[in-house]
């Protein structure tokens, strides 16, 4: 639906324009894992609206439930309470409108790059000709046209993740979710991949939600950075990134980057210090509401 070369709407920021249907809407989403009769809360009531065509980065301390959040949006996990909507319609299970890229490429080792990208198309029952056309297009999009016959074992880590991204885009999802997609790559490669990701986004115009550990990465990629608290995850801050696009690593306004990064870091450190203090018993485990949001 969105995978024409049309430009993504340039309307960053937390606010969704009046009358515009958000790409993703979370309404009072709670989630917990049941372990030995106990329900461990992982996500504690999240409300969120994400504008179509925007890029949102999610940062938060280790194990705070970022990956769980992506799985709830993708319909792989079901929220205990609350609703998840994509393009105004509820998500009730794994959904073709959402493409999910895992932290590891998760390719089928016995299939070639081509056949791995074709996997969702085969599952969806697309005809062979349509599959081949779409996969060829996607191979070009991620720059792997010459590697279509290679098995995953013959590809580098970065190439494998590109195959995984192409696979996630196969069914033309409106929303692309990325769970620390480049965390296994070295920092130089990673920087290059972030530039490529932006270029890809400019071409497909999908809404992107990316989970990352790196504040610099979040600022470089996103229109908006969501900061989550330690488990159970709550919204700590929603920081708008006011940098012009298209962004290239060299020509960013250094002062603005630094200011935004510092703001995010302050929120993040506030949240993590609380967790540390709770663990060492300095403050009660359930802070007053006014303490929870710095």
């Amino acid at each position: 639906m969105t995978v024409e070369s049309g430009r993504a709407p340039r309307d960053p920021g937390p606010m969704t324009g009046a009358g515009q249907v958000p790409a993703i809407r979370l309404d009072g989403v709670r989630f917990g894992f049941r372990i030995g009769g106990h329900e461990t809360e992982v996500i504690a009531g999240l409300d969120l609206e994400i504008a179509p065509g925007s890029i949102v980065a999610v940062v938060g301390p280790n194990g705070c439930g970022k990956s769980t959040l992506l799985r709830v949006i993708a319909g792989l996990l079901r929220a205990r309470t609350g609703t998840v909507e994509v393009e105004g319609r509820p998500v009730t299970g794994p959904d073709a409108r959402v493409g999910l890229v895992f932290q590891e490429p998760r390719l089928l080792p016995w299939r070639s790059a081509f056949a791995n990208i074709a996997f969702p198309l085969e599952v969806a029952g697309r005809a062979r000709e349509a599959r081949e056309r779409r996969v060829t297009e996607l191979l070009g999009l991620v720059g792997l046209r010459d590697w279509s016959r290679a098995r995953p074992a013959e590809l580098s880590g970065g190439m494998r993740q590109r195959v995984a991204i192409a696979r996630a885009l196969a069914l033309e999802p409106a929303v692309l979710l990325l769970d620390e997609p480049f965390s296994a790559l070295d920092s130089l490669t990673r920087e290059r991949f972030n530039v490529e990701l932006l270029r890809l986004w400019e071409r497909i115009g999908a809404t992107i939600v990316v989970v990352t550990h790196s504040i610099a990465e979040a600022v470089f990629l996103a229109d908006r950075v969501i900061v989550l608290s330690p488990r159970p995850a709550e919204l700590v801050a929603d920081v708008a990134v006011d940098l012009p696009r298209p962004r290239r690593p060299g020509d960013l306004d250094a002062a603005a980057v630094t200011r935004t990064a510092a703001e995010i870091r302050a929120h993040l450190e506030g949240a993590t210090d609380d967790a540390f203090a709770v663990a060492t018993g300095d403050v009660p485990a359930h802070p007053q509401p006014d303490e929870a949001i710095p």
């Binding site: 993708a74 792989l76 299970g93 794994p94 073709a96 999910l100 895992f102 590891e104 998760r106 089928l108 080792p109 016995w110 996997f119 969702p120 085969e122 599952v123 969806a124 098995r151 995953p152 074992a153 013959e154 069914l171």
Partner: protein, 251 residues
């Protein structure tokens, strides 16, 4: 060139084995009805094939193995898969599976002969029983070992049960399943011979009994054993070839 290098050691070993055998016969001066030498056995082997003694027995035994192996392997794969994917099925079935395996097939064979007679079907059933266990267990282990992350990936694209089986679980579990088939195919030969000992008109097991008993043709008994061994090696190699065909380079 590579072929010759690979074939050389086993050929040398075979020649050494035959020479030692012949030497033992010469030194011990055993009569042919106790231990015939390799030359005598070889001669009898050729003549038994030439005069048509061997053929009907081999045909019967191969039919039993073929039918029983396919039936037992299919049942084993099905049972193993169900046990891997259903905790209830695993709890209910596994005690019986282990108990059935603990009772030797040798003891079970006369019972099956009593109930089902000694035709092709009854013999194939014994073969199937002996093949079932290793295939079921290896399938169970292989399917349980399929990477959960791949299954989650597949689920995110809304695979049906059938698609998951065909496109993810089966190819991922194939090496393990083929390992079970490799064990199963050699056991199938044992099962066929044991089945034939309980009764029947033809089959290599029957021929072995005849050669030892009424015919008292010990070189023929050895020739039958040699045929059984050749069948075993040939079937094992066939499974190995299939395995090679499916072997994929994994990281």
């Amino acid at each position: 060139m590579i072929r010759r290098d690979r074939l050389l050691p086993p050929s040398v070993a075979l020649v050494a084995f035959l020479a030692a055998w012949q030497l033992l016969v010469l030194v011990g001066n055993y009569p042919a009805f106790i231990l015939p030498g390799p030359l005598v056995v070889g001669e009898r082997f050729v003549s038994a094939w030439r005069d048509g003694t061997m053929t009907p027995h081999v045909v019967t035994t191969l039919a039993e193995i073929g039918l029983g192996f396919v039936g037992g392997a299919l049942a084993g794969m099905f049972g193993g898969y169900v046990m891997a994917r259903s905790r209830i099925a695993n709890r209910v079935l596994s005690p019986y599976l282990v108990a059935a395996q603990a009772v030797p097939i040798l003891a079970l064979a006369p019972l099956i002969a009593l109930w089902f007679g000694s035709g092709l079907f009854a013999h194939a059933m014994i073969v199937a029983l002996i093949v079932f266990f290793p295939v079921a267990i290896s399938t169970l282990v292989a399917v349980q070992g399929v990477d959960r992350r791949l299954l989650e990936m597949a689920r995110s694209y809304r695979v049906s049960r059938g698609q998951r089986l065909r496109m993810v679980e089966l190819p991922a579990a194939l090496p393990g399943i083929l390992g079970g088939l490799r064990i199963g195919v050699t056991l199938a030969v044992v099962g066929a011979i044991v089945a034939e000992w309980t009764g029947g008109d033809t089959g290599l097991g029957v021929l072995i009994n005849l050669a030892r008993g009424s015919l008292f043709d010990i070189p023929l008994l050895f020739a039958a054993l040699l045929t059984v061994a050749i069948i075993g090696v040939a079937l094992y190699s066939a499974v190995l070839l299939v395995e090679r065909h499916f072997a994929t380079p994994t990281s």
